[in-house]
Symmetry: C2
């Protein structure tokens, strides 16, 4: 059972499960939860185990309910919807949609190894969300197994539906604490146009973040990503693609406007980059050439991971605070004598500072953990959130009360207690 | 107090309030709800009173809490958000956003007379939602007064935030049954491009609904509206704009793709219309000329209202069932010897059958009420919903249990009971 104890957050506090249930159906999940409810055994739902906040860390004596074997999909091109089981990878959903010239937009960087069930549980985001929204914007309905083992169907393939409470939306992002999603109805949209891509480098962090604000003030790119110097260097080590190792920051931007207009949008963005002292600006209409930079951006976490163990952050701020957040993180890194590589879905104000440390070095590990908290405290001071798209899981939970405040936490507990009075669903995660 | 007893649904069962509170602030709403909670007095929240399902019908001895005097707005062009009080009209939100070249998309036909608070309470839709989504897609946060009179702030101007449960989304569409929204943070997007407009008429309902499916299968227009023969005639009576009174149906379609591409999209749509035996197809790039047809569509409810009293439906079906729904409604109208004028946000499968009757004619009134239920039953048989965007209110409540089923209803009541144990918030509405 060892490989079911942890997700990608590698939670040192993960427990040892009583058993792992690899469900093949909603009925299997119901049977597991009914058993757990009867015996007051905690249940930890698990998708692909790619979570970055410890939302799927096992707790001692729990049932881990894995949905990895539930991976069917049915696409209906007429309603533009897909009925999907939770174990399917995000990339497989995209591929199945593409067979019908359709598109499921949300695209976590980990889209090849993260499951749609986990995406729904965390309300996952990604790169194109700056224009196309996050997971919840595409979830029309679901089947969910509740804490007593009963299964309910919420919503469905209706594009507008306001009959009753928005329960579907409540379950999205609930991190397995209110129920286990066993099927989901997703909204699809027509295939994305081939994007044009722009890459720009900057000598200072402020030049880059100022450029982000200048762009979002007037344009709506379909991707607006940020990498800082340490990230650029780690990616260059991995890819040898010739990135500028001396740059303080790089932006990777796409426009998916119709042909001609995408180029025009890139030209406008290029102008804004130059006005903000970009050291190099390059743009291309060639989708393959552009994709190379997107792949580079997506490889940032594994690239930085080669330099040490990571503590992964996911803090977000209102856009005007992006510069202060990025500068503040650099100050924390200097203070604590650590490398903190920063990547960001910059257009959303959502950053992923990656704190690099050597777990064999006790002093460094302690400094990394201190910095981990300091980054979240900084985000809170700037009016930001402790998690933009990864979820609270178990690792960010100590900071949640400070973020929500006692009144919202009390409201949250009222709902949790009403739906899971025994508290068996993913205890210790989410809130 | 008489004018605070009913909304536009003109609920014959509306009661007489104990008092009307015209709040000027969150604190005023809190004071009213605290009083109500202490004395177990029901509270009926009220926006502009433009609701079409009786969600704001007074109940005997209630406090009506009106937010009409809370109408401030602050637009932040950098974060592209607006902080809005609930009494502001939807049109005023759009106007304030437009001053900064920004756009708040959701556009109920009643946008000039419906408040943003009511829009949030019902998760209102509109015409552009086929491309741009509904109210919930634009609500980033809110301040809401709970059943005990406490006020909580949920979410905020962060474009991605998954810390804690999605409480903001739960409150959107809850029809004042979980709390009273006193401030809302809305996401704005860049101003819409001037759309191109296409109008097509058809000799049969099936030709028109088949065309809708052919369009949505491959394109993503920014508007895809349907009017049937009785509606066309009522609108022509009002506007004298020269609509074809002999047509069985008319589609009003817009594309807001960039210049050139909008025309190309209209040409493609024109071809699809012709392939489905359209009797006339016309399209224009002139925004003003196009807007005349949109205004005609928006005037449909008042136009049909001139021919009698209305029972307003809001049924939606999965798109492939649109033809069966529209045909079935025509059959009910024939059976019951009634005029039922049908307008539809066709691209969403969301229809508004308007049942015309004379309240002085007891037999006709009974037939109209029978038909009202039959239309909802028909929608349910076709896998549809009893309300796509107006809300359940009090008038559609008898059909809700059939739609949700006992399990989802029980889940709903658990949440309601947890948040409003005395059941004082908008009793009898929503669910």
């Amino acid at each position: 059972m060892d490989k079911y104890r942890r997700d990608r957050a590698d939670d040192p506090g993960a427990g040892v499960p009583l058993a792992v249930v690899r469900a093949r159906s909603t009925a299997d999940v119901q049977a597991a939860v009914r058993f757990a409810a009867a015996h007051a055994v905690p249940v930890v739902p698990r998708g692909a185990g790619s979570g970055l906040s410890g939302g799927a860390s096992a707790v001692d004596g729990c049932l881990v309910v894995s949905t990895e074997r539930m991976a069917d999909i049915e696409v209906d091109p007429v309603t533009r919807t897909a009925v999907v089981q939770p174990g399917l990878m995000n990339a497989q959903v995209k591929a199945a949609a593409a067979e019908h010239d359709l598109w499921y937009p949300p695209d976590p960087s980990s889209y090849e190894i993260c499951s749609i069930g986990g995406n729904v549980a965390t309300n996952a985001g990604g790169l194109c969300c700056v224009k196309y929204g996050v997971t919840t914007d595409y979830v029309l309905g679901m089947t969910v197994v509740l804490a007593d083992g009963s299964a309910v169907t919420l919503g469905g393939p209706r594009l507008k539906d306001v009959a009753g409470l928005s329960l579907t939306k409540l379950f999205v992002g609930s991190e397995g604490t209110l129920g286990i999603v066993t099927e989901v109805v997703l909204r699809l949209i027509p295939r994305q146009r081939p994007p044009a891509t722009l890459v720009a480098t900057f000598a200072t962090l402020d030049d880059a973040t100022d450029t982000v604000l200048a762009i979002t003030r007037q344009l709506r790119p379909s991707m607006l990503e940020f990498m800082d110097g340490p990230t650029i260097n780690a990616v260059e080590d991995l890819t040898k693609m010739g990135l500028d190792r001396t740059a303080a920051a790089m932006l990777v931007i796409q426009s998916d406007e119709p042909a001609g207009h995408a180029t025009a949008e890139c030209e406008l963005i290029a102008k804004l980059c130059s006005e903000h002292s970009a050291t190099e600006v390059f743009h291309t209409d060639d989708p393959d050439e552009g994709e190379a930079f997107v792949v580079a951006r997506r490889s940032a976490i594994p690239a930085v991971e080669r330099t040490g163990t990571l503590l992964l952050e996911d803090v977000g701020v209102p856009l005007p605070q992006l510069g202060a957040l990025v500068d503040g993180i650099a100050a924390i890194a200097a203070d604590r004598d650590l490398t903190i590589a920063v990547i960001a879905h910059a257009g959303d104000g959502n950053t992923h500072p990656l704190i690099v440390f050597d777990p064999g070095d006790a002093d460094m590990t302690e400094r990394a953990q201190t910095a981990y908290g300091e980054v979240m405290d900084l985000a809170l001071r700037l009016g930001g959130t402790i998690t933009g798209e990864h979820g609270v899981g178990r690792l960010k939970r100590p900071w949640l009360a400070d973020y929500l405040g006692p009144d919202v936490l009390a409201l949250t507990h009222k709902i949790k207690d009403a739906l899971d009075p025994q508290g068996i669903l993913n205890p210790g995660a989410g809130y």
